[in-house]
Symmetry: C2
Subunit: 546 residues, 2 copies
């Protein structure tokens, strides 16, 4: 038995009861309830689910009326889930980051906090739509025709299909964790899920109809834990499922989880969290207040905008270096595989390098090789700049060099999208900081979450004017914070409580109707910015001014 | 809306919420939870079952975010069950007396307390065994072969059969209530069940193996309410089911219900409750203490012992009068139907009359007509006393008179059983009163429950020495108190709480090992008693003394 105080989502509680006799003919369940009641850490009600009574009584009796009760620690009550004859060797639980495109999961031992295994799968719902809006469309395909739902229990067949898809996908992932770790799926005792509001609705079978319709109301933001069998998952049937609460239709549990994992809401210092997924979601705050917004800055950075863009996966170019003197071009791909496209960090590296080598101008346009006075640069430009569909394009990797069938190109249209994205990102950050009357210099830390945070070079993002020009030590890559938050709620009651606090504390700023944002967005559509004094570390090229 | 304070098992709670807007984008369920939380009468946790979320949110939205929430009032929490656009016209709930041989049910309107309909059915499990022990035998038919249950979730096929039988039977009864009252079965919003410990186990699918094995431990005495769908009942799926708690293997919820209905535990005065079913169950007490026991006094009184005995049903002789001077014999049957046998009250009337007419002696033996000096009595005895199988018997109804094929006889063997039963009954009552140092004269009231209580004539029972020789005003027939208690818990929270108090307060006296009981039993095997001074109102016949 551990000496530290456990507060995991599922808690083992040692109990010892007297044996039944003619003098003490208390019934088995009453005996177990009584002795467990006295052993629980607090006075919250103890619930014993009806379906668990027979196996619980049998295990209690088989164990000689002494052993270890397994109780689920729900926000307002204890739920008796199982009974062991002795202290278990491990207590596996699953944390799941339920992304729109990708699922990531870990198997955590609740007794030690140790990660037993990790696995990931593509979100199988992609088959029904790449993004949230098309999934909502699919999930309301019948409902949209009838407009008014008369039967309150009506489940849209489209929703049923999506739900079945994701449940099957998660069950597959559970199988991956089980086979990889040697733990039986039915021995996984809890699950935490962090996903955006729509993904949570699709998993839970909740109607997402109003999520994308003004005034954008989810069916549920905060939901009590349910049991795994209610979702059709192949974990232990009494495993409680923690759905990370969301704060609104466009501020999901994944970001709440990220706030938790980053510790943003836990310190006196004001910090910022940037999570670039399909959207760029940004939170600013400290233990006293939290302000958040989301902007469509993501696609260009996650591979959605650039024609050759792709997720950070094997074959994605994630690093580019271009020597501004020798024009030596270095390109690296994830896993060293033949280049297939550019992921966000590769795109940022490339565009920043092209700017510093003066292949593109401050507006993000390819310069004309014929106007170029420097002979080395002119030669390089003639070698690499081609015309496709009447537009200039930069050959990142030639077809032959890549070992692949196609060359990897950066086209002007990609560049334009990139400039819009980086401008949106900077405008989002600046608007949010401005909303609370602060400057970027007031920030103690900027946490950058996700694959984006792990791969980008903040210096290159600063060069582009995407991130503010701060000391690089301010930036911290925190990895998959959505998954980390999900792991934390499995292990700690204060983490579970903190999620609910975060939801109640957060203020969401709607940028679509924000005048300040629009002004800042226009100013940010240059490299690094219309006002270069904001970016003192970025070189300016005199002849291009004005 | 009623002005009185309702505390029914299911409570309608009016709620009014603001409508969603861009300024207030609270999710539907969060909105409902918040407004309902503020409208509940106390701070117990509010649970919203996962399966109810979609219909609840839809009904809440359809009603314009205002209406009446229906919440189940469980001992330690509220459970949101449904949502109406306006105050309901009625709120039907079902009370069920789950007897070993017979089921009785009423449909009660929780809004008014009014009884909407009543119905009864034979317990369909009779097919598998007439009494509790044979049902337990059936329910453990596989388990008994393997002795040790290894799989904690094992359900004995014998138990599954019995459970299916009773669930089907109850669903039939629900159908009877529904068709009789015009209420849809799915509109019945709650159920309370009072039955003995074994019947409760068989309904709930709990293993009754240890109930009949020393030290006689039920799987469960006190069980939290479950939802009707968990039992397979065709009520509203979220209808909570209150199973009346039991106090032990042989002290079931039916008797707890009777104590509740009689008010025994509610007054300062000490009173007694007698419930004669298969056993005679007797409780003595007041609001400070309760003491109880059960004895095998019942069979002779419920028709189990006498060869011509039967339940109080059409054709049962329930009243007999014999003029001790004219020897005119009057016999009445229930419903005026041709006589089929004797029910308990008829048997008591008959034996008391035979004693007063001096056809039987104080030992309960038929006297010899040839020894009889009174000519009128001698003539009557010669007419009515016959010899069957070498034993004297009294012809209660001749075959021709009855209009039935068979005559109705009272044989010596029946008389002997009757004497044992009445002796056991008196000994039980006297032992219990003696245990707490009281006399019968200290009792403010003796409540006699059930069909037995409704039909017997206390004066005749006193004549036999079955009930103590008290003023008749002390005796009160209270009817089906098991069903009445079940009705009370549907309507009142304090009644539900009182059940649990009764269980924790009651002391059970085991008579099988009680020396005092055995002595009193021997003394009571005469009519009225070995010590006739205990029965001053009963005539003694001098020549028979000694």
């Amino acid at each position: 038995m551990p000496t530290r105080k456990m507060t995991s989502f599922v808690l083992p509680v040692p109990v010892t009861a007297g044996k039944p006799s003619l003098q003490d003919n208390t019934a088995d369940l009453d005996r177990l309830r009584h002795v467990l009641r006295g052993s629980l850490p607090d006075s919250r009600p103890l619930e014993i689910p009806f379906s668990r009574i027979v196996p619980l009584c049998r295990r209690f009796r088989q164990a000689g009326f002494s052993g270890v009760a397994l109780v689920n620690d729900l926000p307002d009550r204890w739920v008796l889930a199982d009974f062991f004859p002795e202290w278990p060797g491990q207590l596996p639980a699953m944390a799941l980051d339920l992304g729109t495109t990708h699922l990531e999961a870990t198997l955590v031992d609740l007794l030690t906090g140790q990660i037993l295994f990790s696995a990931g799968r593509e979100n199988s719902q992609i088959e029904y739509g790449a993004d949230i809006l098309s999934r909502i469309h699919q999930a309301t395909s019948v409902r949209r025709q009838v407009r008014e739902v008369v039967d309150p229990s009506f489940i849209d067949p489209g929703l049923a299909v999506l739900r079945h898809s994701i449940v099957t996908c998660i069950n597959g992932l559970i199988g991956d964790l089980a086979s990889g770790s040697g733990v039986a799926a039915s021995d996984i005792r809890a699950l935490s899920v962090s996903g955006n509001t729509t993904m949570a609705h699709l998993l839970l079978g909740l109607d997402p109809f109003h999520i994308c319709r003004e005034p954008y109301i989810p069916m549920v933001n905060v939901i009590e834990p349910m049991e795994s069998w209610e979702l059709g998952l192949i974990l232990h049937e009494a495993a409680p499922v923690w759905i990370m609460p969301s704060a609104g239709s466009y501020f999901g549990g994944d970001l709440i989880s990220g706030i938790l994992a980053s510790g943003l809401a836990a310190t006196e210092q004001t910090r910022m969290l940037i999570d670039v997924g399909t959207n760029a979601e940004v939170v600013l705050g400290n233990r006293d207040w939290l302000i958040a917004c989301a902007g469509a800055a993501g696609p260009a950075l996650e591979g959605g905008a650039a024609r050759m863009g792709m997720r950070a996966a094997p074959g994605a170019i994630d690093f580019v270096a271009l020597d501004p003197n020798t024009y030596a071009l270095e390109v690296r791909t994830i896993g060293g595989a033949p280049a297939l496209g550019l992921c966000g960090s590769g795109l940022i590296d490339l565009v920043a390098s092209l700017y510093l080598a003066r292949i593109i101008d401050i507006r993000g346009k390819f310069r004309d090789p014929d106007q170029e006075s420097d002979p080395g640069r002119a030669a390089f430009m003639r070698e690499r700049l081609v015309v496709r569909d009447g537009q200039r394009a930069f050959v990142v990797v030639t077809a032959s060099a890549a070992g692949a069938e196609d060359e990897v190109l950066l086209e002007q249209i990609d560049l334009d999208a990139m400039i819009r994205s980086k401008a949106a990102m900077y405008a989002v950050l600046a608007t949010l900081v401005g909303q609370v009357g602060l400057d970027f210099g007031d920030l103690a830390e900027i946490c950058v979450a996700g694959a984006f945070g792990n791969h980008i070079n903040p210096q290159r993002a600063i060069t582009l004017g995407m991130l503010p020009d701060l000391d690089l030590s301010v930036y911290r890559a925190i990895g998959n914070s959505s998954l980390q938050g999900a792991e934390q709620v499995l292990l700690s009651r204060s983490a579970r409580q903190e999620c609910l606090n975060i939801v109640s504390k957060i203020t969401y700023v709607e940028l679509n109707v924000n005048q300040d944002f629009m002004i800042r967005f226009s100013g940010a559509r240059f490299i690094p910015h219309t006002d270069p004094s904001l970016f003192p570390s970025v070189p300016l090229f005199a002849e291009e001014k004005g």
